[in-house]
């Protein structure tokens, strides 16, 4: 078990982060913090992909200009590209989410979900 954690700590860390994000999303009453939880959740997945790409002793996946570079040990570039795309998607989602929160705040005057529930129940 200890050995597994020592060699695979990146994955363990990823699932801890995932859990923290998920907990924030569920337990926090503040809408902005909920959205931060979503971001944390996604970031954990990005780290997971980066960890997948790692090759022991590998360098950054930049092929030198040398026409015959010989044997190269480098991290897989594909997950990096995936993460790059996913980050862009995540930013777009955060932007839309924040826009919605701004509108909710303008309409109801609160960012807390429990207060929001009361306000909506009163109407």
């Amino acid at each position: 078990m200890i050995e597994l954690l020592a060699s695979r700590y990146a994955y363990a860390l990823m699932f801890v982060l995932l859990g923290v994000g998920l907990y924030m999303m569920i337990a926090n009453e503040n809408l902005v913090k909920k959205l931060i939880g979503v971001n944390l959740f996604q970031t954990a997945i990005f780290l997971f992909f980066v960890a997948v790409a790692y090759v022991e002793g590998g360098s950054a996946p930049i092929v030198p200009a040398d026409p015959n570079p010989g044997e190269l040990a480098m991290a897989s570039p594909l997950p990096h590209v995936i993460v790059l795309t996913a980050i862009v998607v995540g930013i777009a989602l955060t932007a839309v989410g924040l826009a919605l929160i701004v509108r909710i705040y303008a309409e109801y005057g609160t960012l807390r979900e429990d207060t929001l529930r009361e306000v909506r129940a009163d109407e």
């Binding site: 996604q42 997945i45 997971f48 998607v89 989410g97 919605l100 909710i104």
Partner: protein, 529 residues
Amino acid sequence: MSSVELLPALLVAVPILMATVPIVLGLRFDRTGWSVTAITTAGVFAATAYLAADVYATGPVVHVLGGWDEPQGIGIELVADEFSALIALLVAATTAGLLAYTRAGGPRGNTFYAGYLLLTGGLLGLTMTGDVFNMFVFLEIVGLGTYAMISSGDGPESAVAALKYLILGTVGASLYLIGVGFLFMATGALNMVVLGDLVPELMAAEGEPTLLRAAFAFMFVGFALKVAQWPLHTWQPDAYQHAPDGVTPLIAALVSTVSAYALGRVMFTVFGPEFLTATPYLTEIVVTVGAVSVVAGSTLAVVQLDVKRMLAYSSVSQFGLVVAAYGLVTETALLGAIVHLIGHGMMKAGLFVAVGIVALGYGARTVDQYAGLADERPVTAAGMAVLLIALVGIPPSIGFIGKWYIAVGAVQAESWLVAGVIFLSTMLTLAYAARLLEKMYFTPASTLESPHAPEAVATDGGDVDADEAPAVAGDGGLLRESARRGSPGAVSFGMLAVLVTVTVTAVVLGFAGGAFGDLLEPFVSEVFN
């Protein structure tokens, strides 16, 4: 590269590019959004029909993006095969047809139509992508478009519903992404067809492919959220209810449908029947999730007061049927699931259009307020009645064919649970459909004159009935009282034409059971070869 091969890429790119046009034109002109969208979606529909004709005549059309024809299975492909062409047709037809409703019924504004086109492009991309990671990107594009569409309602409730969907939808898509990560770890490929070949090899080599199982588990839970399966359905009723009337048909007919299609694609093209049946408890879990959704969704639908909410819960139950059919892993059940996806999308689009017409022209939103509808709005009531009966699954209608194939598949697979659930779901569907039919046809309208407590509160509150604001604003300063009773003048010919067309198609396709079987036969038999 022939011209047909270009079509899949154009069908995705053109709507997304055109989505910027209404905003740019909006700087100078006020109301160009509808025209731009109408031209684009009409073009997209024509192109999709041409593509589908080609697919059914000569077989799948594959477009390799950027000419990246690498054999390792990491280049992105757009694929139109027998399955995706049918879904693409549904998407194109619904987005084009629904414009006849939004023309007069709203929501209006150039930014709304920009979102509309973005959603169209995203849905078509999700339908045709042949790459598991690309599928995630399109899932999120569809999500973004949907959140924007839902929040385009005037009331503050719509923003809350959209945020709820945003948080849950993002979690769903992210779980799917984790699944993609595990799949990539196991195989090193992202292309669906390549994955479909690698998965059986891995199974033969390893016996207990833990990574593949983890990948499937994450993907399935992610899609269960997106498709709104019990108990992950909680975003859906809010989203459907609080979205503007012009948007609900679009979301109800397409967004969850295309997600369910994506689930089917992942289950059958990527993992394949061999993996599904060889993994212990997998099919049992899928069938149980679907079956529980059927029962829970219909039961919750029966007790709803608001018609839109009732139909939303009905969607939970109908998608449960599709997921349960996937879980049976037989040719007939898969065929039934596909037909039911198409049929349900069409019927729900029609029903929500009818709900919009009734809200606009009659001011009724709850089941009780539908009393006497048949006398005042005979065409709408008749269309709605036929669609409800089709949803129950009474022949001849497309709702019947889907359920029939699924039921036959369940009997073939000797899954008496699913067979029983289909029977039960038909009864429960009848329960909520009959409630509405009884109100429309057999309860006199006079009951409507007595003020209903919730409606009175809503009217005094001022903000809550903002869903009806387009009707009020459209006719300029109507009195509150008459707004409650609706304004029949606000119902345009286009709206009724859409409703009648959908209704007639749903019935006519009831005779096309064999045709669906022939069209989908190449795909289904390739999956189960």
